[in-house]
């Protein structure tokens, strides 16, 4: 130790060398294209946000935070007697409630389907099932909406009734009046079906990457198949699964037409998910857009900006969660 210390004193510590890498022309061109592309998509995002902010700015200055916290949305009569009041709180809460419900319902099914496809389905039908999954993911949402309204809703109404009669004591499952159609729950179930394919697809992709040598290790210890999946595949797929769920959540947050078809638009914060009242930002914008006057149009732009920011926040959170669970 002593010798080391003496040594250190006598050594001149040199400057860090500056390393220069000369890139070949193809490398430079490629780099240029890639960089431009990346900045371009960022610029488009910024421009959308800027546009929405520009068009909706007057709303933010007129209503301030009230635009976020207020639930009332009324274009008024255009004169002093009934001034316009705009607030997106109800729709914002609705967006979150519906999307979270959708993911909560879809996730267990997605995990089970993905595990089945990757580890249980016979080889002969696996390819076929996977292509079906991709096909289902590509069904336009208006089809889901119509089907949800005509076919799914009567069933969900039945489930809602049972839920309400068994768990009505729980505030979320209480209703002010025994009307169960066009409720956030119906929308949530429909959206769950809509995000199921993409979430399953991502989960399957992640599970298929689970390291074979660790699965072998589990089997070598006398694990059953389920034991091996539980010890190796599920922990391995955790962060990827969260990613898939967030992808689904993104889709559910922005879903417009299907929600429009199966949900009763009411501008009141409603946490009673079985009650026939609710809405989300996207479908509200679609509903009001056609008949909005110039001032309400600005309010819709502002609502769009809020939805845009909400989606960004959710995605940022997702990235955070994924990174956090990767470290462990």
């Amino acid at each position: 130790m002593q010798a080391d210390a003496e040594l250190e004193v006598s050594i001149d510590i040199p400057e860090h060398r500056k390393l220069q890498v000369t890139q070949g022309t193809p490398d430079r061109i490629f780099r240029y294209i890639i960089t431009t592309g990346a900045y371009f998509s960022l610029a488009v995002l910024a421009m959308i946000a800027g546009f929405l902010l520009y068009r909706g700015f007057q709303i933010f200055s007129d209503f301030g935070l009230g635009f976020i916290t207020g639930a009332k949305w009324d274009a008024g009569s255009g004169d002093e007697t009934a001034p316009a009041v705009f607030g997106v709180a109800a729709m914002l809460v609705g967006s979150l409630v519906i999307a979270i419900m959708a993911i909560a319902i879809a996730l267990p099914f997605a995990v089970i389907s993905a595990l089945f496809l990757e580890y249980y389905a016979p080889l002969a039908i696996r390819r076929f099932l996977i292509s079906i999954l991709d096909l289902v993911a590509a069904i336009p949402s208006v089809i889901y909406g119509i089907w949800g309204y005509a076919i799914l809703m009567p069933h969900v109404v039945g489930w809602s009734k049972s839920l309400n009669s068994w768990f009505g004591w729980f505030p979320l499952f209480d209703v002010p009046a025994p009307i169960f159609d066009r409720s956030p729950f119906v929308a949530g179930v429909l959206l769950a079906l809509m995000v199921l394919p993409i979430t399953t697809s991502v989960a399957r992709e992640v599970y298929s990457q689970a390291p074979r040598d660790q699965i072998d290790a589990a089997y070598g210890l006398g694990a059953t198949k389920w034991g091996a999946l539980r010890t190796v595949v599920l922990p391995f797929g955790k962060s990827g699964l969260i990613g898939g769920a967030m992808l689904g959540l993104g889709r559910a947050l922005g879903e417009t037409i299907a929600v429009y078809l199966v949900l009763n638009l009411v501008f009141k914060i409603n946490l009673q998910v079985l009650a026939s009242a609710g809405g989300n930002v996207a479908s509200m914008i679609a509903t009001r857009f056609g008949e909005a006057g110039p001032y309400e149009l600005r309010a819709l732009m502002a609502a769009g900006l809020v939805l845009f920011l909400l989606t960004l926040v959710v995605n940022a959170l997702a990235t955070l969660i994924v990174n956090r669970s990767k470290v462990q």
Binding site: D216, A218, L221, G222
Partner: protein, 275 residues
Amino acid sequence: MNETIATDRTKRNADNLELSGKGGLEARDLHAWFGTHHALADVSLHFPERTVTGLIGPSGCGKSTFLRLLNRMHEFIPKSAMAGEVLFNGDDIYAPGVNPTEIRKRIGMVFQKPNPFPAMTIGENVLAGVKLAKIKVENKDDLMEESLTRAGLWKEVRDRLNAAGGSLSGGQQQRLCIARALAMKPEALLLDEPCSALDPISTLRVEETIVQLSETMTIVIVTHNMQQAARVSDYCAFFLSNGGPGRLVEADLTNNIFNNPRDSRTADYVQGRFG
């Protein structure tokens, strides 16, 4: 029981290899396929109780395949098939009604690449098998210490049992995998090139561990390292494939395989003339 076996490796009788059904593991007319590819043909080999047998031969001659047939790991590969029998203490492990997971609990396996479970701590890794099999353990700490001690790792990790399994060096990870297998109290242990990813010092540690373990269990080890085969094994079996399925060329006392092989191809291989 048989003191000479534990103390003097050279005195064991090569005839043991042909004696069958007494105990330990025995392969009878084993074949293996991957789809239509016939990977292993007609291997009969006896691993007497509480001995170490080294499996040697060039890459691709079916050593791993053979090893994986011995604890029913082969059947996890899609479209794989097998023929023949594997007797474990006299009973065919492929007989109808035999539960393969029970077999794998009794015949442990250590793989070429160290594969601790990364989401678990060192301690959890050791007890992973016990937990998976829902085996009731009186004292988990004792079992953990005992297994790690037998794997020669206890002193190095006793103060950080709660660290992640992946935080160990490669050699330590491999010994952790051995400890994990030992915690199941297996009657036999199969090791597939357990030292191929390890540095020389870790390799010696693992070899010492293997020699110690052979006092209580039957050990089969695949190795590409001739010195290693010479150091740890009582018997050696030489496999070879000449383009077709891998076959057993000869099996004998390790001493004979290295100094006095019956087959000229064995002599060529152990003297490094091919493979």
